[in-house]
Symmetry: C2
């Protein structure tokens, strides 16, 4: 006895799991959480409603996982940007630019993850995700402050502000309809503002990071 699925079967199962998440993501990207009912997801994968529950205990869990994946994917990319040897000023600009550009590519997905209303379980997960983003920026700020690129400030508060700033500015063009002119320009404006917010005078990047006031 001690039954166990063959490797091939195992794979099929875990593939299913993945497919379910992808389908959910796809539907969300298409029309927000509204579209992503369990039934719709099931149909999209080619499974029955009930089957979903073999893989996820509840809709909330499924969404939380989808959200989590997306967030950790984003965070990984952003953290990657911090590996390079650019100054914190450049890093900050680059991080915002990178996120904003991607967000504008997948409008609905970004909107769903940033702002669309859902039930509070999932909302909690979204908050947690946001906290992870904020942490990235907090790290940039801390480093920058220590090395004298940014003036002294509360890094946690400032990081929250910065994340709030670019997400808000992204939501409008990303929401249901409405999409303004030049994405490049928009991204630039947003990223510049974030750098200024951190305390770097005037514009960024072209200044290639002159220290504001070399600390000690």
């Amino acid at each position: 006895m001690a039954y166990q699925r063959s490797p091939l079967m195992k794979k099929r199962l875990s593939d299913n799991r993945q497919q379910i998440k992808l389908a959910a993501r796809r539907l969300i990207a298409l029309g927000g959480f509204r579209e992503a009912s369990i039934t719709a997801v099931a149909q999209n994968v080619g499974l029955s409603t009930g089957a979903i529950y073999r893989y996820f205990p509840s809709k909330a869990e499924l969404f939380i996982e989808v959200l989590g994946d997306a967030v950790s994917h984003e965070v990984t990319i952003l953290r990657g940007l911090l590996e390079g040897e650019g100054s914190p000023v450049d890093q900050l600009y680059a991080a915002v630019e990178s996120f904003a550009t991607r967000a504008l590519k997948g409008p609905h997905l970004a909107y769903a993850f940033i702002a669309e209303p859902i039930d509070s379980d999932v909302e909690a997960a979204r908050m947690a995700g946001r906290a992870q983003f904020i942490a990235v920026f907090e790290d940039i700020l801390r480093a920058g402050i220590k090395r004298g690129f940014f003036p002294a400030q509360m890094p946690d508060v400032a990081a929250a502000c910065i994340v709030g700033a670019f997400t808000e500015a992204l939501i409008r063009p990303v929401a249901p309809a409405a999409r303004p002119a030049d994405d490049k320009k928009l991204v630039k404006a947003i990223a510049s503002l974030c750098v200024r917010a951190a305390g770097v005078a005037i514009s960024p990047v072209e200044t290639t990071a002159k220290r504001v006031k070399p600390k000690r």
Copy 2:
């Protein structure tokens, strides 16, 4: 014939309407939209469930009106700050400070209005409300840019960023539990950052607005 309610009766009716809105607001402030079911609202006013529908066609409508009232109240206050003769820099700082301070006083209410998930009808209203806020800041920025207090920038984008910045920074300490140390400090940090974001070098207020580069 041609029946009409006596003035006294009329008043009572419109009072009821007001009471319903206040009750809804009260419940929201207490525990978010979750708590504000039609039945709960009705009980709170001392009316029956059905009676509510004499005054509002649907729950969504009621909430939208409550939200609208709150927003226009806020906007009026903020617009009031622009009457004074302070520089745009001071105005910007003052506006953020004013809003933030009030938001921290009514945590749940602010949270509900800024971030709590609800159905998409009401959400649309919230977006609209946000747009009104943003407009206030856009005006400040435009004026400031024209008069040389702020560097050239896209005022709509910058305004959105600024609103996003302070709301995000407000949400965390305002959300369900969690409330950090010093509100005053927090508000100061947020407001300063917003001013910097607009392009004013280093800190605000104490500089009492020196022109960055007197335009033309």
